[in-house]
């Protein structure tokens, strides 16, 4: 009898366990991951797929022909790749892509060179002063970015503030041509994106252990050498994050090139705008957009891979180091 009872109770127990396990799937946790995931699928992936579809569709008046056609027992998939072919062969598009990436990279580089010392000295400030400095860096976000770009127009214009002051001081005889040039556009880009560089850099630099620099000094390193050998490598994550945060949106930047850039500053977002709203060539515009997304996704994928590696390393670090700290 006891053996029978145990034989019966065993499967009941195990099925109860399975049920309990099912109940124990953390739905809250799933939702936390699921909501942003669903958001991305709904508002990024689906529209992107729509754009992708348009880019390979044939226009039929104002309508687009279906990609998939089933007639006479034959399933046909028609992909029009002429737009991509055109993009790959027309030097203007190629030039625009290259120059977009070049401007974006230049912007990221200039931001890094200005932002790094900036963030570094923020971490060197008194701890009570640091939150104020962080607030000051993010202060520009409090006013509309469009307004701030217009403000630069007033500064850089031929009869803007800077030219007037220089003329008044007899530094120059004729106004400098600053507006609607690559110069004015880069000023606007650097100005706009600098906080995105400074904040992640500050985030990693502020965590740096000052004793590591002392240890480097103790082992015979000058402070300048120690900065390059210790501080810079340890802020790699911040450098990458900041560079990506500046580079990625800069590639597709539309407003700044439109307002501050000139006819010779080729940026892909302006071409995109023209295809949609002047040429009304939606498939072509879609193809331009798809290539742009791919162009931006590539560095993102690389960043993600790097962060995964770093994250795993830091996860390891927490275990033995926890007690020591």
């Amino acid at each position: 009898m006891p053996s029978a009872a145990s034989a019966v109770s065993a499967p009941v127990g195990s099925s109860g366990g399975a049920l309990a396990r099912l109940r124990h799937i953390n739905w809250g946790r799933k939702a936390v991951i699921g909501i942003p995931f669903a958001f991305l699928v709904l508002f990024f992936s689906l529209p992107f797929l729509v754009v992708l579809k348009i880019s390979v569709s044939e226009a039929d008046g104002v309508q687009f022909k279906d990609l998939v056609d089933f007639a006479d027992g034959t399933l046909t998939l028609r992909l029009k790749l002429a737009n991509y072919q055109f993009l790959a062969t027309d030097p203007l598009y190629l030039k625009t892509y290259v120059s977009s990436v070049a401007y974006a990279a230049g912007n990221a580089l200039i931001c890094l060179f200005i932002g790094y010392p900036f963030a570094y000295f923020m971490t060197r400030a008194r701890p009570t002063l640091r939150p104020i400095l962080v607030m000051l860096v993010s202060l520009p976000f409090w006013t509309s970015y469009l307004l701030r770009i217009y403000a630069w127009k007033g500064l850089l214009d031929d009869n803007g503030v800077i030219n007037n002051v220089l003329l008044w001081a007899h530094v120059i005889d004729a106004p400098l041509k600053m507006m609607y040039t690559a110069f004015s556009m880069m000023i606007g880009m650097v100005y706009t994106y600098l906080p995105f560089m400074i904040l992640p850099l500050y985030g990693t630099l502020v965590k740096a252990d000052p004793r590591l620099l002392e240890a480097a000094g103790d082992l015979g390193t000058t402070p300048w050498k120690a900065f390059w050998l210790i501080t810079v490598p340890l802020s790699k994550a911040g450098i990458i994050a900041g560079t990506m945060l500046v580079f990625i949106p800069s590639v597709g930047e539309y407003v700044i090139p439109e307002l501050l850039g000139g006819p010779q500053t080729l940026m892909i977002a302006r071409v995109l705008w023209n295809e949609y709203f002047q040429n009304v060539d939606w498939p072509m515009a879609s193809a331009v957009a798809v290539i742009m997304v791919v162009l931006i996704l590539l560095p993102l994928v690389l960043l993600n891979r790097y962060q995964n590696v770093e994250g795993r390393a830091q996860g390891d670090a927490k275990r033995p180091g926890g007690a020591a700290a």
Binding site: A215, G217, K225, K236
Partner: protein, 380 residues
């Protein structure tokens, strides 16, 4: 660890002019002020070549500031530091032939064990084969050769500590500084590491100044200990000296546990003295230079007291009747608190030498006795 270390014979450093072995490191009237507060207040000390010297004190006593001045991270307000007769207090950290093992190690997290140890060697522009040979030697010394390509976070606390030691020894410094060398290790690991660290340092033969707040660490590792309080040395001496003949109440109380009795001098002879306290009369086996009636204290370590349930032959002095009010069993020893007639609680530590002997329990009436030699008179 000792076995591996024994194979390494570092070349004996040449004796340079000036200084001399007894004054290998000389600190002269060193003072460091932070605003109005003197963190280190007019400290002078000479440290022998090859000596392990410990600075022991509670936090804020100035021991770390003193160490940081030796390393060059703090500039002295006044006074001088002489290494082998050469004034070094004006040199910057990277110019001093001194290396430091930092508290919780400060290993470079982005570099491997090998690169950490090689860091200083590369900075000194040594040829690559020389760097490699020295790193190998150091990793062998601390038995970490198989871990050379690991990053610091992939090592245990004890291994990290050994990397830190190897890194600080790689440049063959004239003076090694250790900042709380065992502070980041858990208790069990400390005991083991203490001996390993000690044997490596002794094998290398480097002169060593260590800072600690842990008296056990100082006692086991150091040849001499300086007890620091409020920026000054209270007493400097060998561990046994400091424990057995503390110079004053502060040291007696700081190192180990002690029973202190305030009393007056009633008899003072060259070979003994007698002190009358509220607890009873102490017959002390050493003379002091004092005047009769002088107020002073008697210090008695808990392990130097014997407990007995029967009265000894002579109850005139060094014998105190009381009742056990507390008893803590630690395995190797038992700690008793004995309430004496005047209300003083006497701490007594008794080794448990027998497995099933007579057991003194709470509530027992006992006689606590001690020998004249076990007592120390403290005048301050």
């Amino acid at each position: 660890m000792a076995g591996a270390a024994a194979g390494v014979a570092p070349a004996p450093p040449p004796v340079t002019a000036g200084g001399g072995d007894a004054q290998f490191l000389r600190v002269e009237r060193l003072t460091k002020r932070f605003g109005e507060v003197a963190a280190v207040d007019d400290v002078s000390i000479s440290i022998r070549k090859g000596e392990i010297f410990a600075l022991l004190g509670s936090s804020g006593c100035g021991k770390s500031t003193l160490l940081r001045m030796l390393a060059g991270f703090e500039t002295p307000t006044s006074g001088g530091i002489f290494l082998e007769g050469r004034e070094i207090s004006g040199l910057r950290p990277f110019e001093r032939p001194i290396n430091m093992m930092f508290q919780s190690y400060a290993l470079f997290p982005h570099l491997t064990v090998w690169e950490n140890v090689a860091f200083g060697l590369k900075r000194h522009r040594q040829p690559p084969d020389r760097v490699a040979a020295q790193v190998e030697r150091m990793l062998g010394l601390v038995q970490l050769k198989p871990f050379a390509q690991r990053k610091p976070h992939q090592l245990s606390g004890g291994q990290q500590q050994r990397v830190a030691l190897a890194r600080s020894l790689a440049l063959e410094p004239r003076l090694l500084l250790l900042d709380e060398p065992l502070g980041a290790l858990d208790r069990k690991l400390r005991a083991q590491t203490q001996f390993e660290l000690n044997s490596i340092i002794k094998n290398v033969g480097v002169t060593c100044v260590l800072v600690t707040h842990d008296q056990e660490e100082a006692m086991t590792m150091a040849d001499r200990i300086a007890i620091m309080s409020a920026g000054s040395f209270v007493q400097v001496g060998a561990p046994r000296e400091i424990y057995e003949t503390p110079g004053n109440r502060f040291v007696a109380d700081f190192i180990g546990t002690v029973n202190l009795f305030d009393g007056a001098l009633v008899e003072d002879e060259p070979d003994h003295c007698v002190i009358e306290t509220p607890v009873g009369r102490f017959y002390v086996g050493h003379g002091i230079t004092g005047v009769k009636g002088q107020r002073l204290s008697v210090a008695l370590r808990p392990e130097k007291i014997e407990l007995s349930t029967t009265a000894p032959a002579d109850t005139g002095s060094n014998c105190f009747k009381g009742r056990v009010v507390e008893c803590a069993y630690f395995g190797a020893t038992s700690l008793y608190r004995v309430l004496l007639a005047d209300g003083t609680r006497l701490q007594v530590s008794v080794p448990n030498t027998e497995r099933h002997g007579e057991v003194i329990t709470v509530g027992s009436d006992v006689y606590a006795t001690c020998t004249p030699d076990s007592l120390v008179v403290l005048v301050s």
